[in-house]
């Protein structure tokens, strides 16, 4: 990409220098929703820390709570229990005004690039909007910042005059990225940001995220159901199932030598574009059924109803969250440093 914005920031009339980048930490986070049918424990006791400048991948099936977790990380949902820490700030303990002030640093980009844009606003208006809400600069400086951000994400200036329906999915997602960039966030939650895009252009959008991280030191939480995407972009991966982490560790360790039977099954279910003779060496571990309702999660280990290695203990006792290998955590009674238990090893 040859169109680069001066490296300090896309808005040159900002209110002073932005603070040093800070990590994000979830501490025993729970998010419950009250429904007519009972309490949905969408996120139920999750702890992890995302280092400054890191890409933390969160993978899970639908119903695993990954989107709820993402919204909470971006400060859009209130924790029912536990808390989220932005650097030295504890989100739940901050006064409202302070929380509002911090919000610009913690952004989210959604899955559907079209739904995220107002169809009646031009692209330039949409990209300027965050700065208007923040009341930053005057109109001409906001326009300039928006144009620079569009340029940075690889869009021609005339795109700014168009409306969302005139753009392709990939272009619209670039617009959403540009809009986020105008406020120069420290942390971005990327919630299935390439899922709605054709495979042919996913690579270019993922490359853009990587460039922006290098350039601005942005920290990412990358939420996706796509194993190949998450393993390509992430430094570390957390595997979420029914509101709990099953496994967390460095990307290579999790994808090449998973500890949890669920991770192993998930990885083996990914269809690979390989010729028959090369695919046969890989054995598919079939997970029976589908993810149970979060209204009534199974007792003990939540994964046990689908786990090929489940035993009676799994129904009786919640597995401890432990560090089976250095930096590699797992919640399974029977996994050890050598890998997952019994029949699936």
């Amino acid at each position: 990409m040859n169109a680069r914005v001066s490296s300090h920031s896309p808005t040159d009339n900002a209110t002073g220098p932005r603070g040093a980048n800070a990590g994000v930490r979830a501490e025993d986070l729970t998010i419950h929703f009250a429904t007519k049918a009972g309490t949905v424990k969408a996120v139920d006791g999750v702890s992890f820390e995302i280092e400054p400048g890191e890409t933390f991948g969160i993978i899970g099936e639908s119903g695993s709570g990954k989107t709820t977790l993402g919204r909470a990380l971006a400060g859009l949902l209130k924790a029912s229990g536990g808390d989220i820490h932005y650097g030295e700030h504890t989100l739940g303990k901050l006064p409202r005004a302070e929380r509002q002030r911090l919000r610009r640093d913690y952004q989210i980009i959604f899955q559907d690039p079209h739904a995220a844009l107002n169809p009646r606003m031009t692209i330039l208006q949409s990209v300027m909007e965050p700065l208007e809400i923040l009341k930053e600069g005057d109109k001409s400086s906001r326009q300039r910042a928006a144009r620079e951000a569009l340029e940075r994400v690889g869009l021609a200036p005339e795109i700014g005059r168009r409306y969302p329906h005139e753009l392709s999915g990939g272009q619209k997602q670039r617009v959403n990225i540009a809009r986020t960039l105008t406020v120069r966030p420290k942390f971005i939650v990327c919630d299935e940001v390439v899922a709605a895009l054709d495979v042919s252009i996913r690579g270019a959008v993922l490359n853009l995220f990587a460039e922006l991280q290098e350039e601005f030191g942005i920290t990412y939480a990358f939420i996706t159901h796509d194993i190949s995407v998450v393993s390509h972009v992430s430094d570390r991966i957390g595997v979420l199932y029914l509101g709990r982490l099953m496994e967390m560790g460095p990307t290579g360790a999790v994808t090449d030598a998973p500890l949890h039977p669920y991770t192993q099954a998930l990885l083996s279910a990914e269809p690979l574009p390989l010729p028959g003779d090369q695919r046969d060496q890989r054995r598919r571990i079939r997970l029976e059924g589908e993810i149970p309702s979060p209204l009534a999660p199974p007792s003990g280990c939540r994964c046990r109803t689908r786990c090929p290695a489940a035993q009676t203990r799994c129904a009786e006792q919640i597995p401890e969250w432990r560090e089976a290998r250095p930096g590699h955590w797992v919640a399974c009674h029977f996994a050890d440093a050598d890998g997952p238990p019994g029949p699936v090893r």
Binding site: S62, R202, A204, L206, S228, E270, P275, R284, R286
Partner: protein, 337 residues
């Protein structure tokens, strides 16, 4: 089975020069251009391409499901001994669901929410066969059992909303297969599902196709799914078939730059954290198709000569590619040879 030239079994489906267009107040817009391909009895053929390449429209045309008022379908769709493109609506209705059926991406919108699963399954059966209600119900229960729905005796009386996404897709498959059709068109049948459930559904489709001899036309954007389910791959681009070949051959050495580009775009094939390849630009709008190679504007191998119209060239080994440079190019596939 009828034989035709060369002792080859006659194809079950032979699409020839299928041109689909839509009329609108401003004129007529062509969506597909001279699409030709065959499906042998029991064969599983994958159709890939980006959105807007004409995959789904082709599938709907085969089913006779395009809106009569606006869609123009020219060319031939030979299915066994009939031409579906010119078949009267009444006869098409008799065929649809019995000999050729379709599985859609979104089972929740394809199933009727106000009827039980059993009512919808028996409706299909009783529309095509003279059987009693009781017998139809028995067949419907057996069909649900075949697709792996637990306790089919009770679930048959439930409504679609009472089923999970994966189970609903199983109901769709049961419905598509209940009359034992010779061809099933599956349009992105696993796209809305999680990978673990997707694996169950593709396994099920392969298993049923193998035991019943049903041919499958699998429309998808996922080359991994094609590799695991199909034996032959059609790549479509901008309303044309640009490559047709055995799946494993394409994965090793694609013969059209677009197939190669699609394969190379898969993140799983690149080294972790490296820059990912992608195909620049986008599919040209139907009313702005170039006269020559439709992929040339996005093709890294385009040279003088590519502005000429490209015929589908025959390459040895039952392969076809719409690229005059195909023999000059060593295009990378999914694996390094």
């Amino acid at each position: 089975m009828a034989q035709h030239n060369g002792g080859q079994p006659a194809p079950l489906l032979a699409v020839e020069n299928l041109n689909i267009s839509f009329t609108h107040p401003g004129g007529e817009t062509a969506i597909t251009r001279d699409v030709s391909f065959t499906v042998a009895p029991g064969e599983r053929v994958g159709v890939v391409g980006e959105s807007g390449c004409g995959k789904s429209v082709t599938g709907l045309a085969l089913m006779g499901l395009l809106p009569k008022r606006t869609a123009r379908v020219r060319g031939q769709i030979r299915f066994q001994d009939r031409d579906l493109a010119s078949l009267p609506a009444r006869e098409m209705r008799r065929l649809r669901g019995r000999e050729i059926s379709m599985i859609f991406q979104e089972p929740m919108s394809a199933l009727d929410p106000v009827f039980t699963v059993g009512e919808q399954l028996t409706e299909t059966l009783r529309a095509h066969e003279k059987i009693s209600r009781k017998e139809a119900r028995q067949r419907a229960i057996a069909a649900l059992e075949e697709v792996g729905i637990p306790s089919p005796h009770t679930r048959i009386d439930e409504y679609p909303y009472q089923f999970s996404g994966g189970m609903r897709q199983r109901v769709m498959i049961a419905m598509a297969l209940i009359c034992r059709p010779k061809l099933v068109i599956a349009d992105e049948p696993t796209t809305a599902l999680d990978v673990t459930v997707q694996a169950q559904i593709t396994d099920l489709l392969c298993e049923i196709s193998e035991t019943t001899g049903t041919a499958l036309l699998f429309i998808t954007h996922d080359l991994g799914v094609v590799a695991e389910t199909c034996s032959r791959l059609l790549t479509m681009y901008a309303g044309q078939v640009v490559e047709s070949a055995p799946v494993d051959d394409v994965l090793r050495r694609p013969r059209h730059p677009y197939s190669s580009g699609l394969l190379r775009s898969l993140p799983g094939l690149s080294e972790r954290g490296s820059r990912l390849p992608s195909i620049p630009g986008r599919v040209p709008a139907p009313d702005r198709m170039p006269a020559g190679c439709r992929f040339q504007a996005r093709c890294p191998h385009a040279i003088d000569g590519c502005e000429q119209p490209q015929p589908l060239l025959e390459i040895h080994g039952a392969r076809l590619a719409r690229c005059w440079r195909t023999d000059q190019l060593q295009l990378p596939g999914a694996v390094n040879e």
